[in-house]
Symmetry: C2
Subunit: 201 residues, 2 copies
């Protein structure tokens, strides 16, 4: 049976990765979106097992110790991570898994899971990114400057990724379809299809 | 400007590569199908510059000597080959080129053109292939046996290819779309997109 593959979608804040991944999953419901675990409090409207698995700090640390996290990181004093078991089981059952994570986590998984496929979503330019961050209207000038600097660092890591997709303004659907083409193409790589040779011998 | 890429579509007789490539070009006319040169006589309905460039043996040999053929081979005493200039010019102008050629030629080009992408089209099994070859009703038992043996040898070369696509009976459109996904995905490889990093520095 065809095994599932793991697709990491990552990119700096302002790349639109959340929106693009939502579009991808909605238009291709056969894909499984991996749900992260976190120790932060749920925000209004967020549900356990839908947006995140909300777990305690003790529980999270126990899982790290037991090697049950595929990757994890801390942001603003909270843990965020990817539960390993769910991801591997889905792949074993032939389901492609989408992981929308930060750049650090993406690099951890690239090292850990052979054949995982890393896609970086980027804004088309620094100027567009700056407009998007300012457009949110929720962040101070200092935070915007910090995010721009951080975005630059993250985008410099592009050569570590397998693919990148440029998210032009209004390009959500186009990006989702480009990622879907990557998913299809990866399954046709001869490293996965060569077993058909046996049917000719 | 985005450069065009070279996609080789190859596979044994009975894989349906001609039909699949026609479907691909018809549904995506922005792609350019490379036209081969040959020294064989045109068959009824075949036009110079459409199905082949029909050229003389002297002319063909002169082009080989001048290094103007990307690949060439002889079948049944006739030369067949791919004129190089047209292919390289189209790529330079940002056009993706599709080359439908025999397995030997595919291997020649993989060595010659860095970053060319080789896709092998295969029937799903030896039995299906045999049915297709018999179904043509035009070939003797000996020729069918020879073709089956040759197909097996060609399919064993699959690991030399980048991708393979399985052509199930009735799967022409599906195959064409799988090849198109490969074309899209290849353009998103970070080896081609990394220049966007400059827009963030």
């Amino acid at each position: 049976m065809r095994k599932g593959l793991l697709f990491i979608v990552s990119g700096p804040a302002g790349s639109g990765k959340g929106t693009v991944v939502n579009e991808l999953i909605n238009s291709h419901p056969e894909l499984k979106l991996s749900i992260s675990a976190t120790t932060r409090q749920p925000r209004p409207g967020e549900a356990h097992g839908v947006h995140y698995y909300f777990i305690s700090r003790d529980e999270f640390e126990k899982r790290i110790e037991n090697g049950e996290m595929l990757e994890w990181a801390t942001y603003s004093g909270n843990y965020y991570g990817t539960p390993q078991k769910e991801v591997l089981e889905a792949m074993e059952n032939g389901i492609d898994v989408i992981l929308e994570i930060e750049v650090d986590g993406a690099m951890q998984i690239k090292k850990k899971i052979k054949n995982s496929v890393a896609v970086m979503l980027t804004p088309p330019s620094k100027e567009v990114l700056e407009n998007r961050l300012r457009g949110r209207g929720t962040e101070t000038e200092d935070v915007i400057k910090w995010r721009l600097g951080r975005a630059k660092e993250e985008i410099m890591l592009m050569p570590e990724y397998d693919y990148s997709v440029i998210n032009e303004d209004g390009g959500i659907k186009k990006c989702a379809e480009e990622i879907y083409a990557i998913i299809k193409a990866e399954h046709n790589k001869t490293i996965y299809t060569s077993q058909i040779i046996e049917k000719f011998i």
